[in-house]
């Protein structure tokens, strides 16, 4: 069932070139899951090495690993837990942004949930840094917001 002569994409591999110049191979059926890559294939043809300016050699192998499992239908909760287990918050963020760029829906959804889980008991300052946003509240607005959030603080010591 692996080789189908009529379908042109089932056993073919596509070459992807990262922003830092490294080349990785991926099966065409896995590439189909990444809409950005598929669009590039449609425009450039599947014989050319597809350039991915915004994805780098650090994250692409992980993404390829995910989709390798996906096309064989083996993605389970255990696999997903294992997949993110050793990643720190920043590494997950980088993967998330790459999945966004590649328009890789399944991975993107999974990583969104994982990021939400990681942010669960973090302080406001941490969440700020993580999202890369600037605090644009006045001191009065900030203290008002803190007051409104009082119900969410654990115990006497406010978590911040």
């Amino acid at each position: 069932m692996a080789q189908e002569a009529s379908s042109s994409t089932s056993s073919k591999t596509i070459s992807l070139k990262t922003g830092d110049g490294e080349i990785f191979e991926i099966e065409a059926s896995a590439a189909k899951q990444m809409k950005t890559v598929q669009r590039l294939i449609d425009d450039l043809g599947d014989d050319i090495t597809i350039p991915l300016h915004n994805v780098f050699s650090k994250e692409l192998p992980k993404i390829i690993e995910y989709y390798k499992k996906d096309i064989t239908g083996e993605i389970t909760k255990d696999f997903e837990a294992e997949f993110v287990k050793d990643l720190n918050d920043d590494e997950v963020k980088v993967l998330f942004l790459a999945a966004n760029y590649l328009d890789a829906n399944k991975l993107f959804e999974f990583l969104s949930q994982n990021i939400a889980d990681r942010l669960e008991s973090k302080s406001v300052e941490y969440v700020r840094k993580y999202f890369g946003v600037e605090n644009d509240f006045t001191p009065e607005e900030e203290s008002k917001l803190r007051e409104e959030r009082a119900w969410s603080f654990r115990g006497i010591k406010e978590d911040e």
Partner: protein, 342 residues
């Protein structure tokens, strides 16, 4: 040939040196529909305090609505949904009212002698959800009027189930103390009292049970949840009161009864009028998260201790009074007899 990469709905900014983009570069809609929808209540509140853009995104009614309904399925009924929509900050204020417990000493108010204002709360709703191992086993909303004389004078009690009703569960009957202890870890109850006119809500349950035990005669399993409220008149029996929620399960572990009563330090169930006063104070009080899951039980255990201490103090003072009376009687008999004999 120039190749255009179409990125509909997603904007990407790239660093000149090829560094990674930041999340802030992602279209706000994406952040909202993907990350914010997965956050729980407290985390969403934190996210909304980071910057004004996230504040706007996080204030979306739909987000908080979803969190309320998934945390408390009973809030997804027409009446409750309608009441929540009248709240000052709709779902968000409902969530912040109901998520945490009332702070201790909440009843110390500006008005020290709070008189139950019966006019302001003609009706209360109870939104109740019971979970076992995180699975919902019971979810119901009950409306209770508070204006009739019947309500005000009889002992306060709200029952979720009709006497003949019961709800089947797949739980196993606890055959020993250890299994009772396991049930303590596995059961969760949320009982939200909603004041439709005052547009406030409060969760009177301790979350986890404060006790699980089997009745010695009937074999029924009694699961008690309780929230302790301080700040009543000092020295009186209502200095500390407890909102006591009892879930009774029969031999087949079917839920027979779920009821709410308010007890004072003498173990007396308060009547409707006084209970309503207590609830009104709780509705107006502050909210704080429990420090740990065990805190609800710890507070209840302390309440029971204080109850016993109070009883002992009363006994001691009664004994002293008795001794005094006996002494006085003896003295008067002696005085009388000397009068007669002399």
């Amino acid at each position: 040939m120039v190749i255009l990469i179409s990125t509909i709905g997603k904007t990407i900014t790239t660093d000149e040196e090829g560094g990674a983009a930041t999340i802030s570069a992602i279209h706000p809609d994406i952040i909202q529909t993907h990350i914010l929808t997965c956050l729980d209540g407290p985390s969403l509140a934190s996210a909304s305090s980071t910057c004004s853009q996230l504040n706007n995104l996080s204030s979306n009614e739909h987000l908080w609505n979803k969190i309320c309904h998934s945390t408390w399925p009973s809030t997804n009924t027409t009446r409750v949904r309608h009441v929540i929509s009248t709240f000052p900050n709709t779902s968000r204020s409902f969530f912040s009212d109901s998520f945490s417990t009332v702070t201790a000493n909440t009843l110390h108010h500006r008005h020290h002698h709070h008189r139950t204002n019966l006019e302001t709360t003609p009706e209360i709703l109870s939104a109740v959800d019971l979970f076992h191992r995180k699975r919902l086993i019971l979810s119901k909303v009950v409306e209770t009027e508070t204006v009739s004389g019947w309500f005000r004078c009889s002992p306060f009690r709200i029952d979720i189930l009709d006497p003949k009703d019961s709800v089947e569960t797949s739980m196993e009957y606890p055959r020993n103390d250890e299994e009772c202890k396991n049930l303590e870890e596995e059961l969760r109850l949320s009982w939200i009292v909603i004041d439709p006119r005052g547009k406030r809500a409060v969760n009177v349950s301790s979350g986890k049970p404060v006790s699980v035990h089997r009745h010695w005669l009937t074999g029924d399993v009694h699961v008690k949840f309780a929230t302790v409220l301080h700040g009543g008149e000092k020295g009186s029996a209502t200095e500390v009161t407890v909102c006591s929620l009892l879930v009774t399960l029969g031999g087949e572990m079917q839920v027979r009864e779920v009821c709410f009563q308010v007890e004072d330090m003498d173990g007396i169930n308060l009547n409707g009028r006084d209970s309503l006063g207590i609830l009104q104070k709780a509705l107006e009080g502050g909210r704080k998260r429990l420090r740990s899951e065990k805190e609800g039980k710890e507070r209840f255990v302390e309440f029971m201790k204080r109850k016993i201490e109070r009883k002992e103090r009363k006994l001691r003072s009664e004994r002293r009074l008795d001794m005094l009376c006996v002494g006085l009687a003896a003295l008067s008999v002696a005085a009388f007899s000397t009068l007669f004999l002399s």
